[in-house]
């Protein structure tokens, strides 16, 4: 029975134009890289340096593609079926839960492994150039990439099972992908090498979830020359293989077991409103909640943009009590970063700590912004609420402003959370004040760019899922593309070419300002600011134009 589900999953994905676009673009990118480095003169590179450099470039590009393409397909697989009602039908057929899950998992695996196989000609070309070991580099690289794909699929299907809407599933799956690949490296960076104890163990386990250290170990090249492996610890490849297998199995079992007919018995009761309870209960709730979610809200004030309030109220994390929790979490993270910056600045250098903070902050911006901003208009169009909004006297400018402000508020909390950490850096090394100020300005520009790009990209799609997907892929591609060029610095790309590429990246600008390892030699400001500012203006103009166009009679 699982074969029917498997065939349907494959035909569903491969029948989409988007899927083929996503497959063909990385293939073209890798082909271009190989052609650019293919020996044109009659000389033999006996050491194989050129092919190793190229393999590293292809390896990281393929890894990036696997990490960011994987959630695109399985994220909506279960939730869409549930909302269409076909999952309920499937669960009433003789197909078992394991069979249902296996069909979906294997179907998605085939779709993901297909573009992975498309990188084979490029890697074969590298191998043909010489200097690369099949057993020590090529096969382990493919094993790690395949495990990354399996883990990504299992995680995305798990998110899809528990998400309420396809849009939320895509957001959740991408958030989890970024957390697993990038954020898990964060704690390990703050644990000094050779240290032991609970914190080091947790940091080591988390680092094992990310495929990046494993790929770095295979390709023998760390971005920026930094090493993510700890001396005396087991091989990063082995650690990742074990962790990925464990997590994939665990997530798969949990998801498969949760696929049962009772999953549809979910009623969302209005619950008793606090105002209708007794005086004692009211006082208790006020004390416990600070902002009581069951308290009847009053009418919105007349002076405020109603779209802003609507956006915050209709978003689970935009509610007052969640905002308070988010602010608390940011305060705790801020304290943690302050502590890490203090200890790290003494153990390493403020520049290295600043670089890590910029990377983590960028990861958070990339993680959060598209999930909030991409569905601002597409969700309204999908649910039919846009037509109602068009029937109100609200102007496109007011609608867009209200929506963007609701995202800006949340993103600004993320930015504010790191301020104390930067303050510590300035205290340790006061000469860094100007650099930190410029870094913050760059990060604000990055946040604005992320908001503008996600909102503008999302506004062109009717479906939230597609909008979120396109927003994530656009943002990640635009941020990752200059960094891929940077990875190929000196070979195959010269200093000038790398610098020109990095001028499009606010992340690179922030890192170069802090003189993070690998970015010291690039002079990116103020060109990078102007480039990003131009991008922001273009995104906002595009967003306003599309909103205005959507409100016009057709």
């Amino acid at each position: 029975m699982w074969k029917a589900i498997y065939s349907r999953e494959i035909s569903g994905v491969l029948g989409s134009r988007w899927a083929w676009t996503l497959f063909v673009v990385p293939l073209a990118l890798l082909g271009g890289l190989v052609i650019s480095r293919w020996p044109s003169e009659a000389e033999v590179d006996l050491a194989g340096g050129r092919s190793r450099e190229l393999l590293a470039l292809i390896g990281y590009t393929t890894l990036g593609c696997v990490i960011f393409l994987t959630p695109a397909f399985p994220a909506t697989s279960i939730v869409s079926e549930r909302r269409r009602g076909t999952l309920a039908l499937l669960l009433r057929t003789p197909v078992t839960r394991a069979g249902l899950y296996a069909g979906k998992f294997l179907g998605t695996c085939t779709c993901i492994l297909l573009p992975l196989a498309m990188s084979a000609p490029a890697i074969a070309a590298c191998y043909a150039m010489g200097g690369i070991s099949l057993t020590a580099q090529v096969l382990p690289l493919y094993a790690v990439l395949a495990l990354t794909a399996f883990l990504g699929i299992a995680a995305s299907l798990w998110v899809s099972r528990f998400a309420a809407t396809p849009g939320a599933a895509v957001r959740g799956a991408y958030a989890l992908a970024v957390v697993m690949a990038v954020v898990t490296l964060g704690p390990g960076l703050f644990v000094p090498g050779g240290s032991s104890g609970g914190l080091a163990y947790v940091a080591g386990f988390l680092r094992g979830i990310s495929p990046i250290p494993a790929v770095m170990e295979i390709l023998g090249r760390a971005p920026g020359g930094a090493s993510l492996s700890q001396p005396g610890s087991p091989s990063a490849v082995v650690r990742f293989a074990l962790t990925a297998a464990l997590l994939t199995g665990g997530l798969a079992i949990h998801t498969a077991l949760s696929l049962r007919p009772t999953m549809f018995d979910r009623v969302r009761a209005a619950g008793a409103m606090t105002q209708d309870r007794g005086r004692v209960a009211q006082s208790w709730r006020r004390l416990l909640f600070l902002i009581d979610p069951q308290r009847r809200t009053s009418a919105m004030p007349g002076w405020i943009n109603p779209v802003l309030i609507k956006e915050l109220r209709s978003r689970r994390f935009g509610r007052g009590h969640w905002m308070a929790r988010l602010a608390m979490i940011c305060a705790i993270v801020s304290l943690g970063l302050t502590y890490a910056a203090t200890t790290g600045s003494i153990a390493w250098s403020p520049e290295a700590v600043g670089g890590i903070m910029v990377l983590l902050q960028t990861a958070l911006i990339v993680l959060l912004t598209p999930s909030f901003a991409s569905s601002l208009i597409s969700e309204e169009r999908e649910t039919g609420a846009w037509a109602l909004l068009c029937m109100t006297p609200l102007s496109p400018r007011k609608i867009v402003a209200g929506k963007l402000l609701s995202v800006a508020w949340t993103v600004s909390l993320v930015l504010l959370a790191t301020l104390p950490g930067y303050a510590v850096m300035i205290l340790v090394k006061p000469v860094l004040f100007q650099q930190v100020r410029d870094v913050l300005a760059t990060l604000i520009l990055l946040a604005l760019f992320a908001v503008g790009l996600s909102a503008a990209a999302g506004a062109f799609f009717r479906q939230t899922t597609t909008a979120t997907l396109v927003a994530y892929l656009s943002l990640v591609s635009l941020l990752a593309a200059p960094m891929v060029v940077w990875l190929g610095r000196d070979a195959p790309f010269g200093h000038g070419a790398v610098e020109r590429a990095l001028r499009f990246s606010p992340l690179a600008a922030a890192l170069s300002l802090l003189e993070a390892p690998g970015f010291e030699t690039y002079d990116l400001l103020p060109t990078a600011w102007w480039t990003v500012a131009g991008g922001i203006v273009m995104c906002f103009v595009l967003l306003c134009w599309q909103s205005w166009r959507l409100m016009q009679p057709r």
């Binding site: 309420a164 809407t165 009623v267 969302r268 009761a269 209005a270 409103m273 009847r296 809200t297 009418a299 919105m300 004030p301 007349g302 109603p306 779209v307 309030i309 609507k310 109220r313 209709s314 978003r315 689970r316 509610r319 649910t383 039919g384 609420a385 846009w386 037509a387 109602l388 909004l389 068009c390 029937m391 109100t392 006297p393 609200l394 009679p553 057709r554």
Partner: protein, 327 residues
């Protein structure tokens, strides 16, 4: 009187390339009237509504609502029209009060007046007990009530309702019917589309039947039926079955263009059709009484909106059929 006209369209046409979605539609609705817009899928109902609410631009023709041009004055149009589409358009995580509060605020109603107005419309539509419920957790019928409350928030002159009774249970339908009649009683003008034709015929003062983008019939239900009807069915019940043969022969002899005369012994009834538009039953009755036939009941079988609609649909499907006059 001209000032009583709330909706007036003149030769409203919408073309998508070569396909005509709407073909020279001319409609008028007076204040306080309820007009039912009837048509098969793809007949042009939604196109008409979308032009009236300013979401579509007509290819030619004009539409005025309370003197406001539907194609030119979007800001004023939004204030005079209330539109309830067939999709709810809800927001997750919002309670009913917050949902209504947002739309009322979007219409610029001041805070104090807004709270009062939300109470009024919630009371009017029966949505008051739903105030604290999350909109996504409402049943279809409840959503219809909330959607109607939302439509009434800014007190529009013309209320356009797309399938308001769709998915409602019988009790909710009765309530909806009563509510729409009450609104018309308050001087509101309503344009209602529905596929439930018996429902429409109960609430509408006037109906307009669309087919393939053309207006086929418009007017009161009686007028439309009279225009649509080509064969009229009459029933005469006799005191005794013994008179059936005599009565049948008299009817065949005296009724013009008579057809399908059927006598039922069990029911003591004669049924016959005539295509004569000015046929008067009293003449036939005089002849029967003159022949000493005792009659207990006689009537012309009424034609309802459903029959009228099907008759028009059948004629439209048959290109050779004669055009239906527009009332």
């Amino acid at each position: 009187m001209m000032h009583d006209l709330v909706l007036q369209t003149r030769d409203l046409t919408k073309a998508y390339g070569d396909a005509l979605a709407l073909d020279r539609l001319s409609l008028e609705i007076c204040r306080g009237q309820i007009m039912g817009l009837v048509g098969a899928n793809g007949a042009g109902k939604t196109t008409t509504i979308r032009i009236l609410v300013g979401q579509l631009r007509p290819t030619s023709g004009s539409a005025l609502i309370n003197g406001v041009d539907c194609t030119g004055d979007a800001a004023r149009l939004k204030r005079v029209v209330g539109y309830m589409p067939d999709v709810f358009g809800g927001y997750d995580n919002m309670r009913v009060f917050e949902y209504l509060d947002f739309f009322a605020a979007a219409f610029g109603i001041p805070r104090k007046a807004r709270i009062k107005r939300i109470d009024e419309v919630a009371e009017m539509t029966g949505a008051r007990p739903l105030r604290d419920c999350y909109v996504e957790s409402l049943s279809h019928g409840m959503k219809q009530r909330v959607a109607l409350a939302r439509t009434l928030l800014h007190d529009p002159e013309l209320i356009i309702l797309d399938e308001p009774a769709n998915g409602l249970d019988p009790q909710a339908r009765i309530e909806m019917r009563r509510l729409l009649r009450d609104l018309a009683g308050c001087g509101k003008t309503l344009l209602v589309t529905s596929h439930i034709l018996p429902e429409l015929s109960r609430i509408c003062d006037v109906v307009a039947i669309l087919a393939h983008g053309k207006l086929c019939a418009a007017g009161t239900l009686d007028e439309v039926v009279r225009h649509v009807r080509q064969r009229r069915l009459f029933e005469i019940e006799l005191a005794s079955a013994d008179y059936l043969d005599v009565a049948q022969s008299l009817i065949i002899r005296h009724v013009p263009t008579v057809a399908d005369v059927v006598a039922s012994v069990v029911e003591r009834t004669i049924r016959f059709y005539t295509t004569e538009p000015d046929f008067d039953l009293s003449d036939t009755l005089s002849i029967l009484v003159g022949a000493e036939i005792k009659i207990t009941q006689c009537r012309e079988a009424p034609m309802d909106l459903e029959e009228a609609f099907i008759t028009i649909a059948d004629r439209r499907a048959d290109p050779a059929a004669c055009p239906v006059p527009v009332g």
